[in-house]
Point group: C2
Chain length 180, copies 2
DNA sequence: CAGGTCATGTAAAGCGTTACATGATTTT
DNA sequence: AAAATCATGTAACGCTTTACATGACCTG
């Protein structure tokens, strides 16, 4: 029994979805889980070997032409481990990290225009993200798995919310004398 | 000119808000910025000294009784650095990290009940968070600074959105034959 | 006088990104 | 023939958390 780290669990899940190589996992992760869980090669390849040592995945060499390639699949122990993780209560909540919010927190010390521009830039980035996600949504009808679709919908709806919030904040501050 | 890291900038901002010791900064950060930018002592104290070496903050010993204490304040260079950062365009976007979403992504391989429970737990954690944030909101009328209030509102509204999303996802999946 | 708060700090480990390096195959 | 893609990997660095350590002061 080894202690699995988050990236290790992501790998198990990806293999369950039918992906076979480190490269494949990275490709899909960059399109999908990146929005709530990123991976890099520097983590991926060493972790695949750790998982193999632990007997959770089995790899074999399957070169495509003269190009070396390692394909992996879950072992029974790997499936069990994945399921156990998926069904265990999550201890860690949901974490947001945002430099823009930090700047907003300290915005009393900046020009108002500059702060408004920070928020506008955040909105624009989320509008771009929304466009990407919606493009994926259009092709999602034929997806075999429901999980990825649910997180995609989450991403879309959250981004919409963020864009709305930015729009509201970009308005000049309304006088608050009708309040209270 | 040293390269500032995020924690260093958080410290500059906190000193601008009038906080004086590492301990004070940690206390406030744990109540406020924690939701989008956390700090730990392991980063805080070494970074305060780095900032002092760089001439951005000035510290002096001011023991309270026999208890040693270092109080810091921003230098002119520190104020300039803070302002420059606040007004520079943010490169990094906003990042969400969520183990629950990762589990949802792979939820095709778990019992439906287990997944529903993950979401319910996420909702409960956010309901608790909401209660805390709303308690702060109640006392916010007398706050001197507007920035912290804006991020507090952000936190409240986002948490409300997350709770709503969880509620919707907790409902049994509706038949989708009216769609398309 | 016990427990909590004020206050500062360090060492080690964990996690992750970045940058670099390599080379074959496929597409244009 | 060049550019893009497939494919694998490592080393160094940076950030953050965790765990530990210490001790004075204040409150009930």
């Amino acid at each position: 029994m080894i202690e699995l780290n988050p990236t290790g669990r992501l790998i198990l899940g990806m293999l369950a979805l039918g992906l076979r190589t480190g490269y494949d996992i990275k490709q899909l992760a960059d399109k999908s889980t990146r929005h709530f869980w990123a991976v890099s090669y520097g983590q991926l390849y060493p972790e695949l070997r750790r998982l193999e040592e632990a007997g959770l995945v089995a790899g074999r060499s399957e070169p495509s032409g003269g190009r070396p390639r390692q394909v992996y699949e879950l072992t029974d122990a790997g499936w069990a481990e994945l399921r156990e993780w998926l069904e265990a209560p999550s201890t860690t909540s949901w974490e947001v990290r945002s430099e823009v919010l930090l700047k907003l927190f300290f915005s009393d010390f900046a020009e108002e225009v500059a702060t408004r521009e920070q928020i506008a830039a955040l909105r624009r980035r989320h509008e771009e993200k929304l466009a990407t996600l919606r493009a994926m949504d259009a092709g999602a009808a034929e997806w075999r798995h429901r999980g990825p679709y649910r997180t995609l919908r989450f991403g879309i709806e959250l981004s919409e919310w963020v864009v709305d919030w930015c729009r509201r904040e970009e308005l000049p501050a309304a006088d608050t004398d009708s309040e209270e």
